[in-house]
């Protein structure tokens, strides 16, 4: 049955039919979109996972080096060493459109191109562990940026997939069945109306013919005559 009250009119029927066609096409397109998004998302998430493992391992190693450095130097000396960083990272952001989802693209620039500028301290008063630590951190920085890029993309795409999936499901399980039910209801109602009109017309025709030719009276007379003839013989 139709979910809500619909007007059983021909106009409503054409409107609903047109709407159903649109809904079906939309459903197909959204489903395709969802499938493609899902495919890309899974690729991205695998990449994200690999990067994350790599970065976490890298940071762990760097932290170990920092702890070692901290052990052989006083805390003040470490603090002084990092007081005035020479290097500066600047980030240029762009967007890439993947299946209507804008995902970020980061390109980074360092203020000075010299790779040795990460050592912001004199080498005389610091331990070599500190150099190792800084070096290991700087080595994973590109990967960290890539991780940021892919992780953000994953989050954005996940949100988009969820939205698309809801839309697909709403169309598939609610909108389209409802419309089909309404269409069926209207067609049945219209058919029923047509049949009842037909019957009414036939009945009226019968009545008019009766009035014109008096079939019934004639039939009765003929019947009586037949009876009389049978009674006589």
């Amino acid at each position: 049955m139709a979910q809500k009250q619909v007007n059983a009119t021909r106009m409503e029927l054409t409107r609903l039919k047109r709407k159903l066609v649109t809904a079906k096409r939309g459903h197909k397109l959204l489903k395709d979109k969802r499938d493609e998004l899902m495919r890309q998302f899974l690729n991205l998430v695998r990449e994200n996972m690999a990067l994350r493992e790599k970065v976490e391992k890298g940071i762990k190693a760097a932290n170990q080096n920092f702890v070692l450095a901290g052990a052989s130097m006083s805390a003040e000396a470490v603090q002084v060493a990092f007081m005035a960083p020479k290097q500066e990272v600047q980030l240029e952001t762009g967007t890439r459109n993947v299946m209507s989802v804008d995902i970020p693209v980061f390109t980074y620039k360092t203020r000075t191109s010299d790779a040795n500028d990460i050592y912001s301290y004199g080498l005389a008063f610091t331990s070599s562990d500190l150099d190792d630590a800084v070096k290991s951190l700087s080595d994973i920085l590109p990967d960290m940026l890539k991780l940021a890029e892919s992780e953000k993309s994953c989050q954005l795409m996940a949100a988009e997939i969820e939205k698309t999936r809801r839309r697909v499901n709403a169309l598939e399980h609610v909108m389209i069945p409802n419309m089909q039910a309404s269409i069926k209801y209207i067609t049945m109602k219209l058919d029923e109306n047509e049949r009842s009109t037909q019957i009414r017309l036939m009945k009226v025709k019968d009545m008019m013919l009766e009035e014109a030719h008096h079939y019934e009276e004639k039939a009765e007379e003929k019947f009586r005559k037949d009876l009389e003839e049978q009674g006589v013989s």
Binding site: M38, F41, L42, V45, R46, N48, M49, R52, V55, E56, I59, K60, A62, N63, F66, V67, G70, V78, Q79, F82, P85, K86, Q87, E88, V89, Q90, L91, E92, T93, T95, D102, P104, F106, Y108, T110, R111, I118, Y119, S120, A133, V134, L137, S138, L141, M144, L145, L147, A148, E149, E151, K152, C154, Q155, L156, M157, A158, A159, I161, E162, R165
Partner: protein, 107 residues
Amino acid sequence: MYKIAVMGDRDSIYGFATLGLDTYPFTDPQEAGRKLRELADGNYAVIYITESLAAKLTNEIDRYRSQMMPAIILIPGVSGNTGMGISAVKKSVEQAVGSDILFGKSE
């Protein structure tokens, strides 16, 4: 032109300063939350947060999940890896697919 910030406890993040990232050492989650909001509204495209600090700031971080900027990325701190970063990735997968289809077997 955007910048990169690192937040967390001092010991975990001071090294990033030499690479040219801006470091914001915090241990108090309330203060850190306030700073995070300030950074997110400001000129920062990527904010790295240590897992231990992020654990106390999940509400603040979730707010920026669906936004393009900034990307808030969890990194392990000096105290070790808590697995929160990985679980954030799993959360994305769960949101998209409905269930964890990639990493379910690894644990």
